[in-house]
């Protein structure tokens, strides 16, 4: 008991200690400006080796009480930190902050619980700042906001449908049947990014054709995240940086840090956007004549009737451009964000409430997102800190019905066979006429159907940081991080019985309910041991656990009572359920050594096991190691030309789980005569299925020139994937048709070059720019099974083919004119030749700021089948033109080429140069009164200008959604461009 009292007293003393120490110091005042002399507000002014600190006010001024022998550190995101000894101070301090153009001072994650300054990093870790993410021209969803911003990534929007749905591939294809998408970690919480289909296939029958994918094009769940809440994003592109995340990291890790409060006056900020969205590009429609209308039928009688119908429609002024009618809507958008931050000595907070509502370019489609976030930080004692991040999101997307189908029901497929002289408009009673040219009347479908995804998502993360031991040389911390990510997704697809194509089913209601719970926790101990001023060791070790529990129910009711949607109002009901559950556990150890701040070496290993693996108890080992050597710091190089030269290299391993259930041979239901039966599935299981292993090596050089005004970062990587999984065809006498196998090895290698510079820095104009260049090349280095065709509709239309010695993303097909006996030839490659982006900010007199992001994707082919479908429907805009002057109109010529056995015409260059974001903002400096502190107005253009030779709606497209196969274009929801006006008021 006495011991306890004593230690309590000790703890009490510890609290008092700072006050006792600093009470007898002196007051330091001063002003912080940038290089050009403009005052800087919000600069953190802290006392070294203490918890004391303040921030500068709007005029850049500060005041702080410190001990005589203390040192003050001035720091501000994006600027180099400065340390100032109080003993040197006299009068008002004048601090000039220098911009950290090369981001060398930026703190970057090193492991699950440690960080390192970029200048000491052994990897090329990409970062996206809040300004880059959301400060130029805000995107509709979080995934769209990443587009064009990650060097080394291939990001592609699947369609223009509201609510997102993008594929993010970091450093090439990492898996063919496994997960290709990175792991998203938000404030330590592993976020689920599953795309759940709404079951539209029950109506579209898309899977009944040449590809078994449902092609439902759902959105990815990461779309729900609010870009406005994000402070910073770090991107670990491969195993060399991400190995410590183990089996989840094979496709890279995107680490997202949200905004947090800091000590000081409570700041309230309100931001409002208004804007509109329009179709980026329409294909146009065929202008019929009496003659061409007649040619729609080969039957003379019908032909004459069609000509007559055209002539009458023309006389009555009833020729329509249905493409414009469908996709020509100008969607109104609004977005409001209220954020409040502040904090006291012990507790700080960030709160935001936001709502956006955006209409799509098709009536009845749109996206709505409401989000609440509260991030709290509390110091229990000086040694124990706890942080809490909570987020609630409600989102709702109405996505319409577009893309491939086999029933003529999607807007776009129906449009492809609807000529301009048929009248689809409703009569005075609201009855829509039957469209004789298609299975559906697209105007009726748009007016009456529903396809909604609605999400309620709660995410909570907890972060505990406790100092267990502290001495002059050594500090040991316990870091605990964990979180839960829960969402409930409800999909509703309603097709009322009045619809033309519901004449058999008499009303279809498809209702899907999905619940997903992910949890994860990390507990680790971190020891920092400063053996001397020049030698520091950081040791960390810990355990991790991740669980996932996904449950999807899908009900399809047909013969639904008029005006009803509940499934019990239907005459027939079929249901299906899919569940997925996993538990992963890991143990990791990591050591980082810093010698002279010049040589940094790190090594770590993670042991991982998972219920997804063939053997759930087996631990797999994922090592990593890296080193960086700063030649300038070492003093071997002259500082006059190069300010900072760093050589770095890193190696790491990771893995990707086998597809869920691939280790089992399942029995499927097969009933007869009212008896329940089970029969082996056509897909065989393999109890020995192994994870896909990945080993990545990267090396690079970073250097700065011209007094750190120009910074280069050059990285080469080689990423090998061993035992990649393929669904292989097996001899059917085994009872199975296919089976997952570890089929071979593949390799990605590439180069990433980044330049950050500040070419102009005067009081009047400041220009900061970054330029990135990158490319990736993939190759299947080993394949133990015969080549596999996948990812599209077969060789007659152009498809992917996994083949030893070839690029994993090659597009092959038949080309009868050159290869008449039906051999398969390479027609293209989906991988871009290279990509570039440049982000620029030009500021005039610190008030007017022009920011823009240009993204250039050079090369990279799509399989464009949209035009083929329009040709088959005889409605392509250039159907009657004759581009090559051979007297055969384009339409019949292209169809003839396809029927003649050539897929060459479908494989098209999908390169583009796109002004992804342009923003012009003005900040008012002198605002009367003292309620409003700041006011900013701006205009923003998102995806507004695109240069491309691609003949579809947009070069960014993916009929098969997010996965291995991207760039297959089958009548998608057209991409939109957006413009908005923004007003932000700070209180």
């Amino acid at each position: 008991m006495r011991k306890l009292m004593l230690s309590l007293a000790g703890v009490f003393l510890l609290f008092l200690l700072p006050d006792l120490l600093y009470a007898q110091g002196k007051t330091v005042t001063g002003k912080v400006t940038d290089i050009s002399g403009l005052p800087m507000a919000g600069v953190s002014v802290s006392v070294l080796k203490s918890t004391q600190g303040t921030v500068t006010d709007a005029d850049g001024k500060f005041k702080i009480q410190v001990a005589d022998n203390a040192s003050i550190v001035f720091s501000f995101t994006g600027f180099k930190s400065q340390t100032f000894k109080v003993s040197d101070a006299s009068g008002d301090l004048s601090i000039k902050m220098e911009e950290d153009i090369g981001k060398l001072e930026e703190v970057v994650v090193m492991g699950l619980a440690t960080t390192v300054k970029r200048k000491n990093l052994s990897n090329a870790v990409g970062t996206i700042s809040a300004k880059q993410l959301n400060g130029v021209a805000p995107a509709q969803t979080f995934d769209a906001a990443l587009n064009g911003k990650i060097p080394g990534a291939y990001i592609n929007a699947n369609s223009g449908a509201p609510g997102g749905g993008l594929s993010v591939k970091l450093r090439g294809v990492t898996s063919i049947f496994g997960n290709t998408q990175p792991l998203y970690v938000v404030d330590g919480v592993f976020m689920d990014n599953t795309a759940t289909s709404g079951g539209l296939n029950a109506v579209t029958q898309a899977a009944a054709g040449g590809n078994a994918s449902t092609q439902d094009n759902p959105s990815s769940r990461i779309a729900d995240l609010r870009a406005e809440d994000i402070q910073n994003i770090e991107i670990l592109k491969g195993a060399s940086a991400a190995a410590i995340y183990g089996s989840r990291a094979a496709a890279g890790v995107i680490i997202i840090t949200t905004k947090r409060g800091s000590q000081g006056k409570t700041k309230i900020s309100f931001s409002q956007d208004f804007g509109f969205a329009k179709a980026r590009h329409l294909l146009g429609v065929r202008q019929f004549t009496a003659e061409t209308a007649g040619s729609l039928s080969s039957d003379p009688e019908t032909s004459a009737a069609l000509s007559q119908q055209f002539t009458e429609a023309k006389a009555a002024g009833k020729l329509y451009d249905y493409e414009k009618e469908i996709y020509g809507n100008t969607g109104f958008m609004r977005n409001s964000v209220l954020s409040v931050t502040g904090g006291g000595e012990k507790t700080s907070f960030y709160f935001s409430a936001a709502q956006k509502d955006e209409e799509g370019i098709v009536k009845g489609t749109g996206y709505r997102n409401t989000s609440l976030r509260l991030n709290l930080d509390h110091k229990i004692t000086d040694n124990i800190k706890i942080g809490l991040s909570t987020n609630y999101v409600n989102s709702s997307s109405d996505r319409g019905l577009t893309g491939n189908d086999n029933t003529g029901t999607s807007y776009s497929i129906s449009l492809s066979s609807t000529p301009n002289f048929v009248d689809l408009h409703p009569d005075q009673y609201g009855n829509y006429p039957i469209n004789p040219f298609s299975a559906s009347n697209v105007l009726q479908t748009i007016a009456l159907m529903t396809n909604n995804e609605s999400v309620n998502r709660f995410t909570t993360g907890i972060n505990l940081d406790a100092i267990l031991q502290k001495s002059n040389k050594s500090t040991t911390r316990l870091i605990g991080r964990g979180g839960i990510d829960f969402y409930s997704l409800y999909t509703t697809a309603l097709f009322p019985r009045e619809l033309q194509f519901q004449n058999v089913n008499k009303g279809t209601s498809i209702q899907g309910a999905t619940q997903n719970l992910n949890t994860n926790s990390i507990l680790s101990l971190v020891n920092v041991y400063n053996a001397s001023d020049n030698l520091a060791f950081t040791t960390s070790a810990g355990v991790t656990q991740e669980t996932g529990d996904y449950n999807n129910l899908l009900n399809v009711a047909t013969q639904v009572a008029p005006g009803q949607s509940n499934i019990d109002q239907g005459g027939a009901l079929t249901g299906q359920q899919f569940r997925n559950k996993f538990q992963n556990e890991g143990i990791f150890v990591q050591e980082e050594v810093s010698i002279n701040d010049a040589l940094n070496v790190n090594a770590g290993v993670r042991f991982d096991r998972s219920t997804n693996n063939g053997d759930a108890t087996k631990f797999y080992t994922y090592p990593k190691a890296g080193a960086s050597l700063n030649l300038t710091k070492l003093g071997v190089l002259d500082k006059s030309i190069f300010n900072n030269i760093k050589l770095r290299a890193a190696y790491g391993q990771s893995a990707n789980f086998p597809a869920y259930g691939s280790k089992f041979t399942t029995l499927v239901s097969s009933n007869t005569d009212g008896l329940q039966g089970s029969i082996v599935n056509v897909q065989g299981g393999d109890p020995n299925i192994k994870p896909e292993r990945q080993a990545e090596f990267e090396t690079g050089i970073d250097f700065s020139m011209a007094n750190s005004k120009v910074n280069f970062e050059i990285t080469y990587y080689r990423k090998k994937i061993f035992d990649f999984l393929l669904l292989a065809t097996v001899p059917p006498s085994s009872g199975f048709s296919q089976k997952f196998v570890n089929a071979g090895d593949l390799q990605n290698s590439g180069l990433e070059v980044g330049i950050n510079a500040q070419p102009i820095s005067t009081k009047a104009i400041k220009w900061t720019t970054s330029l990135n260049f990158w490319f990736n090349r993939s190759k299947v280095t080993k394949l133990t099974i015969p080549p596999v065709i996948l990812g599209s509709f077969g060789t007659s239309l152009g498809t992917f083919r996994i083949e030893e010695g070839k690029s994993a993303t090659q597009i092959v097909g038949n080309d009868a004119p050159t290869h008449p006996s039906g051999e398969i030839v390479v027609l293209g490659n989906q991988e871009p030749t290279f990509q570039m982006n440049t982000f620029n900010e030009i500021t005039f007199k610190n008030r007017l700021s022009l920011r823009f992001l240009i993204h250039w994707k050079n090369g990279g082919d799509n399989v464009n089948l949209t035009n083929l479908l329009n040709d088959f429907g005889q409605t392509s805009a250039d159907f009657d033109a004759d581009d090559n002057g051979n007297n055969i109109p384009n339409g019949p010529e292209r169809i003839g080429s396809f029927l003649g056995g050539s897929a060459r015409g479908f494989v098209q260059d999908a390169g583009y140069v796109r002004f992804r974001e342009i923003g012009l903002y003005y900040s008012f400096s002198k605002i009367p009164g003292n309620v409003v502190r700041g006011l900013r107005v701006g205009v923003a253009l998102n995806n507004y200008i695109t240069f491309t030779k691609y003949a579809g709606y947009d070069p960014e497209v993916s009929n098969f959604g997010t996965g291995f196969s991207t760039g297959v274009d089958v009548d998608p929801y057209p991409a939109s461009k957006r413009a908005s006006l923004n007003i932000t008021i700070d209180f």
């Binding site: 605990g480 507990l523 759930a616 399942t666 007869t672 006498s733 089976k739």
Partner: protein, 433 residues
């Protein structure tokens, strides 16, 4: 060194220990797995495999009947979706080892074989059933397996089949026709031995009405054995096996075992059924089916006159196939009328002509065309027997196989110059041969 807090270390260790100890396997959450069933299957699980096998026997059976019916010149099949019914199957283009007509039925039959093998292993491993019950399951599995293998051998004939497919990673060789048919015969015998004295505790469909107990199922097994016997030209054996089957000269033609169809959940419809007078997707009887028929034969009802003739690719016909007259009409596996004609055939071959004609006359009179009046010698009787099989077993998958075993494929009609009658289908390319 000052220790500030130490309880988290203990906490950390505790959690580390608890994490590493709470490891579990989730198994498959969405459906049962073969691995589960092989451990120690319950009776209900085994029964589920029995029903699944019966249900699986129906997969692609419409396509099987089409393929053997087209090559055996019983019928034409027109399809907008696939021209190969009127090209490759009729011999105007070579048969392809990737063709749907072989790959799909082949895979479906072996899937049932696999299911039977799982049933055999599961029943063998189960400690929850008696030996008699175990033998009941084994007898069922081997009988069905033999039948499924026979259907594939019917397709590939001299190209053979794999019989040993128990281990998917180590498949047995492809055997010759003789080896294969012998293996099928011994599998049926093994099954009979298992069934003798066994106990059947699994449900069979209404297609096995009257054959759904041990005695009945042995009769079904022997009926199949009799068919295999005549395919092997084991005439005496055929008569013995007929004696142990449900063969009954005075019985109903239709008595036998059937695949049944239904509209229930997870059930399927008869894919050999098309409505009459349909366009686009059409099954026509071969014109000679009716022209070769004797006056007054009631079996003409199997080929009904269309309201308008159908034609495609230089072929035409005016009679729909009308054997399966609804989408839930059953398809025979083996029935008494075939057994009568097997009885006739075996007796012809052992020169017991009177007994043979007795059986032929039962069939003839049953269809309204009176007694046989032809010569009482082997060749004439064989032709008569083949004719009766042709009309009685129309679109039940026999004509091509029958003409083949009597080396009479050359007698089948050729409709277009360049067409030919195939004797065997190729082994699917995916078998890697």
């Amino acid at each position: 060194m000052k220790r500030i807090v130490n309880f988290p270390i203990v906490l950390l260790l505790l959690i580390a220990v608890s994490i590493t100890s709470c490891k579990k396997e989730y198994g498959n959450l969405n459906s049962p797995t073969v691995e589960d069933y092989l451990k120690n299957a319950s009776k209900d699980q085994l029964n589920s495999l029995v029903v699944g096998s019966l249900a699986g026997m129906r997969n692609n059976d419409g396509l099987y009947l089409d393929a053997v019916g087209i090559i055996g010149r019983e019928m034409y099949r027109f399809s907008n979706a696939d021209p190969r019914y009127v090209t490759e199957l009729l011999g105007s283009a070579p048969l392809n080892n990737t063709g749907f007509y072989i790959t799909n039925p082949w895979a479906s039959r072996y899937r049932v074989v696999k299911n039977c093998n799982v049933l055999i292993d599961a029943a063998t491993n189960s400690s929850l059933i008696s030996d008699a019950e175990r033998n009941g399951y084994l007898g069922f599995a081997k009988t069905i397996k033999a039948f499924e293998l026979l259907l594939n051998l019917n397709l590939t004939y001299t190209n053979g089949i794999r019989v040993d497919v128990a281990d998917p990673n180590n498949l047995g060789p492809i055997l010759s026709f003789d080896e294969s048919i012998t293996a099928i015969a011994s599998l049926l015998d093994e099954a009979k031995n298992n069934l003798n004295g066994s106990s059947i505790v699994y449900p069979l469909t209404s297609g096995f009405a009257g054959l759904d107990d041990v005695t009945g199922f042995i009769k079904f097994n022997r009926a199949l054995a009799a068919r295999v016997d005549v395919y092997r030209q084991k005439w005496d054996l055929a008569l013995t096996d007929l004696g142990a089957s449900f063969f009954d000269l005075s019985g109903d033609f239709a008595t036998g075992a059937y695949e049944v169809f239904g509209t229930g959940s997870g059930d399927q419809l008869n894919s050999a059924y098309f409505p009459q007078n349909q366009n686009g997707e059409v099954r026509l009887s071969h014109p000679t089916f009716v022209t070769d028929m004797e006056e007054g034969d009631d079996r003409i009802s199997k080929a009904t006159l269309r309201s308008t003739p159908a034609s495609n690719a230089g072929l035409s016909g005016d009679r729909d196939i009308w054997v399966y007259t609804s989408s839930t009409a059953p398809i025979p596996i083996v029935r008494n009328e075939e057994l009568m004609l097997i009885y006739a055939e075996a007796n012809i071959q052992i020169a017991n002509f009177d007994e043979a004609v007795k059986a032929i006359n039962v069939v003839r009179n049953g269809h309204g065309i009176g007694n046989y009046t032809g010569a009482m010698e082997k060749e004439a009787l064989v032709n008569e027997m083949l004719d009766q099989r042709r009309f009685s077993l129309f679109f039940e998958g026999h004509r091509w196989i029958d003409m083949r075993r009597y080396q009479k494929l050359g007698e089948l009609p050729i409709d277009r110059p360049g067409d030919q009658v195939w004797s065997a289908m190729p082994i699917p390319i995916t078998e890697g041969q």
